[in-house]
Amino acid sequence: MGGSMRIKSRSDLEEVRTIGLSKIQPDRPRIAIGLSTCGIAVGGENLFNRLYTLIKEGGYDIALTKVGCIGYCKEEPIVAVTIPKKPLILLHRVFPENAEEVINAVLKGEVPESLALCRILEWDHITGILQYGEGFDTIPLYNDVPFFLHQTKVILRDAGFINPEDIDEYIAVGGYEAAYTTLTERDPDAVIDEVKQSGLRGRGGAGFPAGLKWEITKKAKGTDKYIVCNADEGDPGAYMNRNEMESDPHMLVEGMLIGAYAMGISEGLIYIRAEYPLAIKRLRHAIDQAREYGLLGDNIFGTSFCFDIQLATGAGAFVCGESTALVASIEGKTGRPHPRPPRLTDSGVWGRPTDLNNVETWCNVPVIIAKGSKWYSGIGNSSNTGTKVFSLVGKVENVGMVEVPLGTSLHRIIFDIGSGGAGGKAVKAVQTGGPSGGCIPVRLFDTGVDFENLNRIGSMMGSGGLVVMDEDTNMVDIARYFINFAASESCGKCVPCREGLKHILLILNKIISGKALAQDLILLASLSDTIQKTSLCGLGQTAVNPVQTTLKYFMNEYEAFISQEKR
């Protein structure tokens, strides 16, 4: 396929699909290394280089490529091996010293069984199903791995299977099919209706109905509107969006393309934090490829619709994930929030109506269009449809990226998928929603994870970080950690957040150093309340959640710091 190919018809798309399939399932062995940031961090790149050298020197007929992260971060580096007519085999904890062993086995049409994690006979990419061969019966099946068994991969359907730097492979598994159908056959308003019907709610944390926001933006007065993707994921311990962009960037591009068409908008922006260099690189690459194929730019798919995406990188401020601060940052101003209204849908980037959605929200769009709202709303429960990706981290046995239907219980996520506390320790609590979330004690782990339930018990969905704490974790110290983060990330505009959080931190320090009196706990509670009720933006309003929930559920740990004679 030449560089000048532009996809204008279904047959063009089919042609690319055939090429892509020959890359994913070539007629020779394929070794694919999971090279997202997590894979690279544990030496995946060294493994890649070692394999590359061995294959080149030996002149072997093996395709070597990179894929995204399949989510089982604990078992990285993970290698996916495809031998024609054999099942797809996932190898885990493969290091450069295993490279020769892997090559030798593959050359014999085998895999090193000692490194094998599981085999996959068929993979449902949702937008298409890939069949693999038979064999290797002694290796466990994908569903035999507890970490995978209870997951439902919708957003992460391609992660770990396709090369994120190759648009052909995305198209091979049904990518851009939804965009093609949308642009060539569907009425924009019908697309908005479909998204509304699906019940998709914003995955940035607030859970606002995405279709409704699209409709409001579309109806807003003004021209030259923008759609923006919020990729300023800054919660400590959260990396869902990073993984989504690194493993499957075209999913985001396609989602934005469909959204732009539905709203009739021709300019898209992705606001991404500069701390994600690999995601930025892969997104830029994906956007370039999409332009080359005529999937971005003028006359997309040969229609009259025009749309393009630009990247804006952040400068390292957590508060820039807040919508109004994000817009200020895009405009080159200091990232400080301003009071709403005006909402972004009325006056956003450069004062124009702007639709802002989180990475994961956009990523849901292609499957909703491809499979229909009915199919989508069948996942999860009635008011919380679809799946949610969580980054399961902290003191949990199976660290990684977990995707489950909304409403799945914390127990299932942490004990069934995560296998409980790391090293067999007892799990005490989980922090959801990053620094703005709360600590949920283990006795409430029957709670189904959805927007309302988490709010009800004092926490929040946030973007989806789950930080597990075990018996050794001191909850007052956890509260101090998150308050320290929030205080140093406060923009400093309004007084409750700027001054209040500082004093919360001082009081917590006093408590931990054993100098506090019982009245300090009362002060802590009342100051937290004022910060929550009077702060200007979401950062301040939610920053005290870790304090409030630990006060509520772990008061005994606070009291333990207050000496008997001072009580």
Partner: protein, 253 residues
């Protein structure tokens, strides 16, 4: 009137809502959080700031519920800790019965704003939005935020107009006029030349401000206004009035 800012309505109607960061000529900012009120919709109340709320027909607002007063008290305690030297804050807080703060007071040695700044941003905003000079800005973020000139150096773009000091709600900004110089004590000792009156020889306006005004004046007026101090200008006008009455010359300035 529909669409009017609630705080302005309250001020006009003499309803007491404390506020520190509001200025009519600037865009609503909503940073001091003192003007929080409760809006009643369908029996439910929601807290919001009066300086950002636009009124509409049938709007129901509660300005001093126990809940609001409790939060205002805590906010005043935070202000007392942040600006322990400000008498204005002390007076405002006293009206809510807050005379001391349980929080650690912020003590900064050689604070150019004398322990009075509450970071309401009015000075920064007028300098930027009204005067167009942008001589001062917020530096750092969060609890480390301060206001000053870039790199804490004398800033040549400062015109010495003093609007910042005029709008400062806690009178934190210090400006000193010494003969031909205006010294912006709070802004890294930025020095601005003052011009002398061609009549009496006294120094009066800061030169950059006079030049700035000239760009917006009728050329005929420039000569008279630019070089003569307000006192002498008054005398000149009076003299011309008298002469005109006597029929010696035509009109006054």
């Amino acid at each position: 009137m529909e669409g009017e800012i609630l705080l302005l309505v309250a001020i006009r109607e003499k309803i007491d809502i404390p506020h520190l960061c509001y200025e009519e000529s600037l865009d609503p900012y909503g940073a001091c959080r003192l003007c929080m009120v409760e809006v009643v919709t369908c029996g439910k109340t929601e807290m919001t700031t009066a300086c950002t709320l636009r009124v509409y027909n049938g709007l129901e607002v509660l300005t001093d519920t126990p809940e609001i007063i409790r939060h205002r008290k805590t906010l005043f305690e935070l202000y007392l800790a942040e600006a322990p030297k400000s008498e204005i804050i002390k007076t405002m807080a006293e009206r809510y019965g807050v005379t001391k703060t349980p929080f650690l007071k912020k003590i900064v040695h050689d604070d150019p704003l004398g322990g009075k700044c509450i970071l309401c941003g009015l000075c920064v905003r007028v300098c930027n939005e009204i005067m167009g000079a942008s001589a001062i800005q917020f530096i750092n973020r969060g609890p480390y935020t301060v206001v000053n000139t870039p790199f804490f150096e004398e800033n040549p773009v400062c015109m010495g107009c003093g609007t910042c000091a005029k709008v400062c709600p806690t009178e934190a900004i210090v400006i000193e006029d010494i003969s031909d110089e205006r010294i912006m004590k709070s802004w890294s000792n930025t020095k601005i030349r003052r011009i002398a009156c061609t009549e009496c020889g006294r120094y009066f306006g800061p030169e950059p401000v006079m030049k700035y005004i000239n760009t917006r004046l009728d050329p005929d007026l420039i000569e008279k206004l630019h070089t003569i101090c307000p006192a002498c200008r008054g005398k000149t006008i009076a003299r011309q009035e008298i002469l005109a009455k006597r029929g010696d010359i035509g009109n006054h300035v």
